[in-house]
Amino acid sequence: MKIAISAERADLASKVAHRFGLSPYLLVVDTETMDFKALANPGATSRPGAGIRAVAFAIGEGVEVVLTGYCSPAVYNQLASNGIKVITDVSGMVKEVIEKYKAGGFGRDLAVEGEKGQASHYINRRILVKALKSSARQFANILPILTGVILCIGLFNAFVSKEALALIFTGNVVLDTLWGACFGSILAGNPINSYVIGAALLNHGISLFAVTAVIVTWVTVGLVQLPAEIASLGLRFALVRSASCLVLAIPVAILTVMILNFIIG
C-alpha cells in the first residue's frame, strides 16, 4: 500500500510537516518494502491552488492513505472524494509514523476517512450543498455579461440593418468564415454569449459558416486573454496555439456546414 506523508525533508528521518498542501516535500512510501519516493511538493511553491496540486500528485501516485498534521477542508474533500483515506493530527518522525500506522496505531477513532469509492456513489447533504453553492456562483458569474450581451442584441436588431452587414459579410464562404473567425478571436468570455450573438447574426442573414467560425474561435482563440496565456505558458506556445486555432476554425466551420447540408439533404 502506498502512503503519502507531508515531510520537512526528503528522507524517512524527517519530521512530518504540518500542512499537507504547503509542506516542502511529499513522501510516497510503500508500506510493504518501505521503499519511498521523495518529491518536492508541487503545491509548496505557490499558494493559489497549492492543495489541489498536491491532491493531483497523490492521485497520480496511486496513494491510498495520506498522513499529515493538518489538511484544509477543501483538500480533505478532494482526497476523500477520490477514495484516499486522510489521517490528520499526525506528528513525529516519518519512519515512526509509518510503523505506527502499520501497527494499527491510528485507530478509526482518530482517523478522518475517505472510503474507497464512497464519493462517487454516495452524495451526502454537505456535498450537495457545496455543489449547489458552486453552481450558483458559476451561474451568477455568467449572468451579468449575458445580460449585457442580450441587451446589445436588442440594439443590434433594432439599429443594424442587413444591408450594413452585407458590406462585410458578402456571401463569399471563405471570406465570411474568415471574418467570423476574426470576430470570435477578438472577443472572449463564456461561450453562451457566442451562441446568443451567433443566433442574432443568423437572424440577420449572416451565413452559418461565419456564425460557426465565431462560435469556434470564441473559446479557442481569445486575444483578450493572450497576455495571461503568454505569462503562464510562454510566448511561442501561446502564439502558435492561437494562430493554429484561428486557421483551424475555417475548415471546421466549412466542414460543419457542409456535413450538415449533406445530412439534411
Partner: protein
C-alpha cells in the same frame, strides 16, 4: 495565521467581480441615451432583448442542472490527473475529456497548466485541453435550443478532431528548447 486569511481571500476571489457589472451598466447607459434620442427604436431594442431573454430562460434552467451534476461528480484534481497522462493515444483522449469537463474561466486553469508543464507535461495535451474547452456539456441545452442537436453533434465531433490536429501543430511548432 493565515488559514482564516486564505479562506477569506478565496471567498473574495469567488465572488462575482464588480468589473463584470461594468459592461451591462454601460449598455444600460447607452439605452438611456437612446431613449432620450430615439425612443421608438430604443423601445424596439428593449422588446427585442426581452424576446431573446424569454427564449434563453428554459435552456438556462437546464444549464444550472447540468452544472450541478458536473460539480457533484467532477473534481479539479481528477482533471489535473487526466491532463498529466502524456501524449499517447490514451493521454490525448484523457486530455480531451479533461478539456470537456473542465469548468470556470480559462485564467483559473493557467497556473495549473504551467505547473503541469514544469512537471514534464508536453505542449500537446495542454493544447488539446485548451481546445476542448470549446465543448461545454453544461451549455449544450442552450446551444441545441438555438442551433439544433444535429448541428451541435457535428460541430462537437469536428471540434474534438480539430483539437488533436491543433495539439500536433502546437507540439511541432512550439517545441521548447532543451538543455
Amino acid at each position: 495565521m493565515s488559514i482564516e486569511k486564505s479562506q477569506e481571500s478565496k471567498r473574495r476571489t469567488q465572488r462575482p467581480s464588480r468589473y463584470m457589472l461594468i459592461f451591462p451598466l454601460l449598455v444600460l447607459v447607452i439605452y438611456g441615451v437612446l431613449f432620450a434620442l430615439t425612443p421608438e427604436q430604443a423601445l424596439a431594442a428593449l422588446k427585442s432583448s426581452g424576446e431573446v431573454c424569454l427564449n434563453i430562460l428554459p435552456p438556462l434552467a437546464l444549464v444550472f442542472v447540468v452544472m450541478l451534476v458536473l460539480n457533484l461528480f467532477v473534481k479539479p484534481a481528477q482533471i489535473a490527473h487526466l491532463l498529466g497522462s502524456g501524449a499517447s493515444i490514451k493521454g490525448i483522449l484523457l486530455s480531451v475529456a479533461a478539456g470537456i469537463i473542465s469548468m470556470g474561466p480559462i485564467y483559473v486553469w493557467y497556473p495549473l497548466l504551467k505547473e503541469l508543464r514544469e512537471k514534464g507535461a508536453g505542449n500537446m495535451p495542454i493544447a488539446v485541453f485548451l481546445y476542448n474547452r470549446a465543448v461545454k456539456p453544461f451549455l449544450l441545452p442552450v446551444m441545441i435550443a438555438y442551433f439544433g442537436w444535429l448541428y451541435v453533434s457535428v460541430l462537437t465531433v469536428l471540434t474534438v478532431l480539430a483539437s488533436v490536429v491543433n495539439g500536433y501543430s502546437v507540439a511541432a511548432f512550439a517545441k521548447r528548447k532543451t538543455g
